[in-house]
Amino acid sequence: MKEIDARGLSCPAPVLQTKTAMEAEQLNAVRVAVDNEAAQQNVRRFLESQEFEVSLEKDSANYFVIGKCGEKTLTQPKAAPAAEARQTKIMIMIATDRIGYGDDELGLKLMVSFIRTLKEMGPDLWRLVFVNNGVKLAIQSSESLADLKEMEDSGLQILVCGTCLTHFHLLEQKRVGETTNMLDIVTAMQLADKVINI
């Protein structure tokens, strides 16, 4: 059983520490130590939301939450379907709206073509993440919008950096993908078998 020591931490840190540990490795049993009742209740809630069977313990100074996963339980919050699990998980992070340096017009065209051709990766392409100038590919006026929508409809998870959309005042104009935060991006990098940076 994996032991997680979250003593000395106040909410929400114990829940986040448990979440990070569970996402990093496939855990089917955890014992989380905390030093206050609020943290114990919150960790219990979190483990229950992940369909763990939870029991609580207490000694003189510490509170414990013990979680064991039932038969049907998946330990990752957004676990991939079983059939997909055997495939390579490729994550592509796109931080620009054009490919390479030199001629910008050419760079923009190359990006449209790159995204159109990504489908050839088949189901190995697992997540597409847009950050910084890359978020401009996911908005109303993007030439790649139709291709991206098609890929999203066929099951590809597309993540678009919310901080970046806000920065460019494009939050309202996003037309494809889920708005995401840095924690999701970092977690995706950790879970991916291969990360390609553009």
Binding site: P12, N42, S49
Partner: protein, 319 residues
């Protein structure tokens, strides 16, 4: 302050001996001043919005007492060595814009160097001495109206943990920065019996203060209480702030939940709010009219959430 002897005189209409939102001092038969102060550490990352929220939160106490805010002073704690002074400028601009919106004059302020950033206001408002609203004066049969949805405490915890989506952050930032001025203006035209604003003690904590010592009880209909849907999601993930557990431990003996009330909703009724809505106790015949008029003014999430009952006394029943 317990154990300290606080002098008072007959011009102090609301003072230290009550649990009210602000103090009230009578100047003449038709004028009293309301004084309040509130400041806190940042709850959102954007300094301009933090300034707006801190100002809206401080002004809220004046509205809850039935008054009109008139003047304010800035209170600032700033870590000069760690932070660029431009951040403070943005905070003060946010606060100032909120004061302009409220038609409040900024007349001064004071800043100290502090290890942690803090901002808020000291506010003075006017009220007619006969029209002061406090937490007392409940009558059996009165209805309770809440003017903003609950859940900002849970969502602020999710923001602190880096798991809140940008859309949610945007939504609650605007909600917390919304002044209760329009509510207060509408409220002045109705026979309101009592009022408070929902802040750190959560809905049930502040309601408990109203019920305590009144000889009356309250029945809430949890299905009618506006709650941000994202707050339920984050509460299910275990993101309740420690303050919600403290509020619950303190006031749970006064509360009786019917078995059908979802445990997440029970906890959210104790969720500490930042710049929460007003909780208005009003004659039963006028409650629906008040809510209709608030809705027409764009205060869409206000709702009748319960009623004052004669028995059991000093209990809050949640159905």
């Amino acid at each position: 302050m317990s154990g300290l002897e606080i002098p008072t005189n007959d011009r102090v209409i609301v003072g230290m001996d009550s649990l009210d939102d602000a103090g009230v001092y009578k100047i003449s038969d038709d004028l009293a001043i309301i004084q309040t102060v509130d400041f806190f550490t940042p709850i959102v990352d954007d300094p301009y919005w933090f300034g707006q929220i801190a100002a809206a939160n401080a002004l809220s106490d004046i509205y809850a007492m039935g008054g009109t805010p008139k003047t304010a002073m800035n209170l600032v704690g700033f870590p000069l060595k760690q932070m660029d002074i431009s951040i403070l400028r943005e905070i003060l601009q946010g606060g100032l814009d909120k004061m302009k919106e409220a038609d409040v004059m900024l007349v001064g302020g004071h800043s100290v160097e502090d290890s942690e950033l803090k901002y808020g206001l000291s506010v003075t408002g006017f009220v007619h001495p006969d029209r002061i609203l406090t937490k007392k004066n409940l009558n059996a049969g009165d209805r309770l109206v809440l003017t903003k949805p609950l859940g900002t405490g849970v969502i602020n915890t999710a923001i602190k943990g880096g798991v809140a989506s940008v859309e949610v952050i945007d939504k609650i930032t605007r909600l917390m920065a919304t002044l209760s001025r329009d509510v207060a203006e509408v409220m002045k035209q109705y026979p309101v019996h009592a009022c408070t604003d929902i802040t750190g003690f959560g809905l049930l904590g502040h309601l408990a203060e109203m019920v305590d010592g009144s000889g009356l009880g309250v029945a809430l209909d949890s299905k009618n209480i506006p709650i941000l849907s994202e707050a339920l999601d984050y509460a299910a993930m275990g993101l309740l702030p420690a303050g919600a557990f403290k509020n619950k431990a303190f006031r749970e003996p006064m509360v009786e939940f019917s078995s059908s009330v979802n445990p997440l909703i029970r906890d959210l009724l104790f969720d500490p709010q930042t710049s929460g809505g007003l909780l208005i106790c009003i004659d039963r015949d006028d409650a629906d009219k008040l809510v209709d008029e608030l809705n027409q003014k764009g205060i869409n999430e206000s709702a009748v959430i319960g009623e004052v009952i004669s028995a059991p006394p000093e209990k809050i029943l949640v159905n």
